[in-house]
Symmetry: C2
Subunit: 327 residues, 2 copies
Amino acid sequence: MIIAVDAAGGDHYPENPVKGSIQALNDRDDLTIILVGPEDSVNSELSNYEYDQERLLVEDAPEVIGMDESPARAVKTKQNSSIVKGLGMHKAGKCAGFVSAGNTGALLAASTFLLGKLEGVSRPTIAAVYPTVKGVRLMLDVGANLEVRPEMFLQFARMGEIFTREIMDIDDPQVGLLNIGEEPEKGTDTLKEAFTELKSLPNFVGNVEGRDIFDAGADVFLCDALVGNVLLKFGESIPAALKKFIKSGIEKLELGPQEAKAVQKVLKVSLSEFDADRIGGVPFLGVDGVSMVGHGSSSPLAVKNMILNAVKCVDHDINEKIVASLK
Amino acid sequence: MIIAVDAAGGDHYPENPVKGSIQALNDRDDLTIILVGPEDSVNSELSNYEYDQERLLVEDAPEVIGMDESPARAVKTKQNSSIVKGLGMHKAGKCAGFVSAGNTGALLAASTFLLGKLEGVSRPTIAAVYPTVKGVRLMLDVGANLEVRPEMFLQFARMGEIFTREIMDIDDPQVGLLNIGEEPEKGTDTLKEAFTELKSLPNFVGNVEGRDIFDAGADVFLCDALVGNVLLKFGESIPAALKKFIKSGIEKLELGPQEAKAVQKVLKVSLSEFDADRIGGVPFLGVDGVSMVGHGSSSPLAVKNMILNAVKCVDHDINEKIVASLK
């Protein structure tokens, strides 16, 4: 299988995409990777490592889309960027998927525009994995659709259900609608109508509340992109904030250095569920292809895991299953 | 000053409202409290304590509004409930404020209906205090308005600013609009228009994101009730979830009992910012009176702090300041 990797995306390119790609190749013998990015700098980075040259190719894409660039304009004007070229290669069948830690908005726009939507999907969506006390769960939408129509929630539910079962290995995933209360009559008109639509799913657990997230009151949490994006970024800030809370606790209790060290060690291990690198990235669900996006700060491990998740999406025929489920 | 206290509200009545009232009386000599609730059970509870009988009175309100009752119907049909009677007494000038740990929806409906709105306020709002690494900050709306028009965000900003300065003792409070990105063009049409309205405030810091909450990127976080309510309940779930995360960390590291105890002690102290009891309650901002609501699980300490916050709202002429600010 061939996967294209954005070698000009994220905060640490080309180093992290290159390192992560080599790690992924070491993990899977049947994998070939095409690094898409400015040829010179990618080759210069590659010269630092030993790797199987037959399975790691470079495709020149001299233009770079910055992390803060306006997505629509960047995609339109930078035809020789790694994002536009990589997704174009995917569309042309030259690779089975594309992964990137680059500009999420540009990736969403280019994925939707170049790959098109799956049959039965109104709008592609960005999902995120969220830490819970029972392991990570899925939340969507976290960035693509600020306004979600009731039938779109139903599509999100089906796509999320397939992704959690096939890729996150959660048996019989339960779907919940994030709302201000559990009763069916709670929330906006849109949420009330969505509740009615979702009732047709056998695995819909009803409305869930903010307090149900950490307890994994559902395996797939449905929300609009405003709620999801605020929650996602809030969740990402928890480890750093907790370190500060714990530090002030250690000072208040005037703990000795050895005890303080034990506390910090426990904290580090305890918060490993929050480690985005372990997860790698998440796909744009609903596009006609496999397009994964990772955090801008993605480490080599994150890039590697993103590549392996893309492989899994292909192996498990995610998109065929989504189309069948939406029929 | 006379404050009426709902003796039939919350999960632990009449015990906690009675205990909290007695604690508040011990704190302030100039305070008189009227406990509003079923006379027999309130008096029976009171017989367990010593207190200044001249400053602690009982007003019979035999009907009880349950925590899960439909707010509008409960307020309409239960004229002899503590909520309707207590707010009626406040409206009639028999007390300077009303505090309750009861049914939030019923309290909002009764406060809006019986007390009326302040001049210049489109819709009353429920605010909540939120823990940050710099101490608690204010978030609104967290339960009253699922749909917030742009001019309402401006009203929320002014009300929140006055509350944080006068009651939470935050000098020069900064206002932020919770959004999916920092740029003015981010978010729904409503949020974009709200941004434009809010620019007229000298202390508006612009759009803030989920990651800015714990870092106190603003002192007043503005949002609609869907975002606010999900965040509020998610925040309330953090301490319990962390205890589970930390417990699994302790097990993974196979810590001895003494080290494990030290870790748990630090955790408890570190999470004291999350302790709702310390804060007591929050007011319905925008109603023509002082009506405070606390968590259903409010302890005696929470009730006491809620009463003292109500006193502070009266002492600081909160509502006069809000009306002046909205002119």
